[in-house]
Amino acid sequence: MKETPLSICEKQCVVQAVKEGQRIDGRSLSEQRKPCITFGTEWGCCQVLLGNTRVMAQVSCSIQVPKSSRANEGMLFINVEMSTMAAEHFEAGRLGQQGIEVNRLVERCIKDSRCVDLESLCILVEEQAWEVRVDIHVLNHEGNLIDAATLAALGALCHFKRPDVTLDGREVIVHQLDERDPVPLTILHYPLTLSFALFDQGKIYALDPTNLEERSADGKLVLGLNAYRELCTLQISGDGVFIRKEAVLSCANVAASRAVEMVEMLKKCLAADAAERIKGKYDGLVSSVALEAERVTTQSQARTYFKAPAHNLEENADEESLPVPKIKLVKDQGIVTLQTRSDASSSESDTEMDPLPPVPVVKKRVYEEIDIGNDSEEESVMLITNELT
């Protein structure tokens, strides 16, 4: 299915707003959407929410023969999967042009910057080494897939633990997870990407563009930085973009301070996850189901909910002040009848009117408030015994 084309008025609105320094969701030009990072029960599972963009990464490992050119190193393989779930124009199984771009940028930022120590992944030189595989699944595309994917990949790599290995002469023993504690990967530095959408031929830049902003932009600037403000990746794309070097430097400054903050946040989330695991009852991604209450208050698209008014029959009968409705509900011994009021006289005159056939009592329905307590397990686990026939 093809992507719905961007209308001219949408594009003009975004471009005009950006020229005035404003954005559709109320952020400033150098403000990023607040990322939300959660981890799963399996080691190496990380889900990142960047506004409404949702990406999940999973790291796995297997023992392979190392490459002959680098016989003393392990291998890192990054794979980005985009399916119809993320957007209707993505095809399952095949990466389109955008997918290939995301894949390549994540590879450049994480693999080419050598943030994972590959030499520590070698088991026997030229014979056996660990191949670490990162599968990144794009779940929802609302702009800036590159940043979300890199953050998810980095989070998953930091979270991942591989089985412990001992060498007995030339014999390799891989220990099971319950025999010996698994070993984390050696991460040398924490590189992240930060993308800017370029407008007005490169004169204006907006950090962390949404899907609409990305499509309306003239070009894109992607910077890969780590917590030490070192540049790992740089890419500028887009036709008709003439970005000046001062602009690149100021973008880099904005991005560097943001990268430091993001790495801090990632480390905090990892520490919180480790603390949760020690507590005992750890359910991983289950706790990220129904995070809704927190997300409705963000500036991204607020979903509309409505609360149906509580049906209360006694209240209706008391409303004498309404001039318009001539029909009132009369609750009489449990039977509700619709009664037309001829004059301003009271309900004693109901004998002259033929009452409509009695309607069965409407039970009072009060919709309950949502409580985000964690007692869902108590209410939903149902026991089936043989008496349930």
Partner: protein
């Protein structure tokens, strides 16, 4: 313990979790978490277009590696279930694209996927004939029936594992997927137990939809 074996794990779901999909849900059954999305009715590719009904396409995506034969098997099972519950005759020459993403494997992925797809279809507003609830149970090596097993029980080994899916109108069997070898009486007992359990899942769907429409605008 008797009560432990005959209960299903806690169910939790968040509907409309993806902003782009027509219908989406993040569903968890115990520690198994699955995300399902529905896009439809969509323009169908000419090769896949059917003149009298809607074409149902299902994609199951595992967390690690490329989809293989096991994933194709799951897709086929979910597809036959969906063809039964969706009123495909109302939208000829179109397609509906259902994607299931495995988020966390705590055992019983097939039944969690079917339940998630049902909730996602409810969320998308596609016309359905009925709802569907899937339950898995296994017969362990001591001939005891364990309902809705967790992944530890599955890894310990079993004689047979069954997944049954029931409809919401008469609780008839829509889908039955079995592996292993057991006498017929045990199979019958397992099916009856799963049928009882499906009532709970239908109740949960009802609760989920009530909750979805009763939240206040903050």
């Amino acid at each position: 313990m008797e009560t432990e074996q005959k209960s299903i794990r806690a169910l939790k779901c968040e509907q409309s979790v993806l902003s782009r999909a027509d219908g989406s849900v993040m569903f968890s059954q115990g520690n198994t978490v699955v995300m399902a999305s529905v896009y439809g009715p969509l323009e169908a590719k000419i090769q896949k277009e059917l003149s009298d009904r809607m074409y149902v396409e299902v994609n199951y995506k595992p967390k690690i590696g490329m989809p293989g034969v096991a994933e194709r098997g799951k897709e086929k099972l979910v597809k036959t279930t969906c063809n039964h519950i969706i009123l495909t005759n109302l939208h000829p020459r179109t397609a509906v694209c259902i994607t299931i993403q495995e988020m966390q494997d705590g055992g019983t992925l097939l039944s969690a996927s079917i339940n998630a797809v049902c909730l996602a279809l409810l969320d998308s507003g596609l016309p359905l004939q009925c709802l569907v609830a899937a339950v898995t149970c296994l017969v362990d090596k001591k001939d005891k029936i364990v309902l809705d097993p967790c992944i530890r029980t599955v890894k310990e080994g079993y004689k047979a594992m069954f997944t049954f899916a029931f409809d919401s109108q008469k609780y008839n069997l829509i889908l039955s997927h079995c592996e292993g070898q057991v006498p017929y009486t045990l199979f019958q007992e397992a099916m009856e137990l799963c049928q009882k359990a499906s009532h709970i899942i239908f109740d949960f769907y009802r609760q989920a939809v009530i909750r979805k429409f009763s939240k206040e605008l903050l």
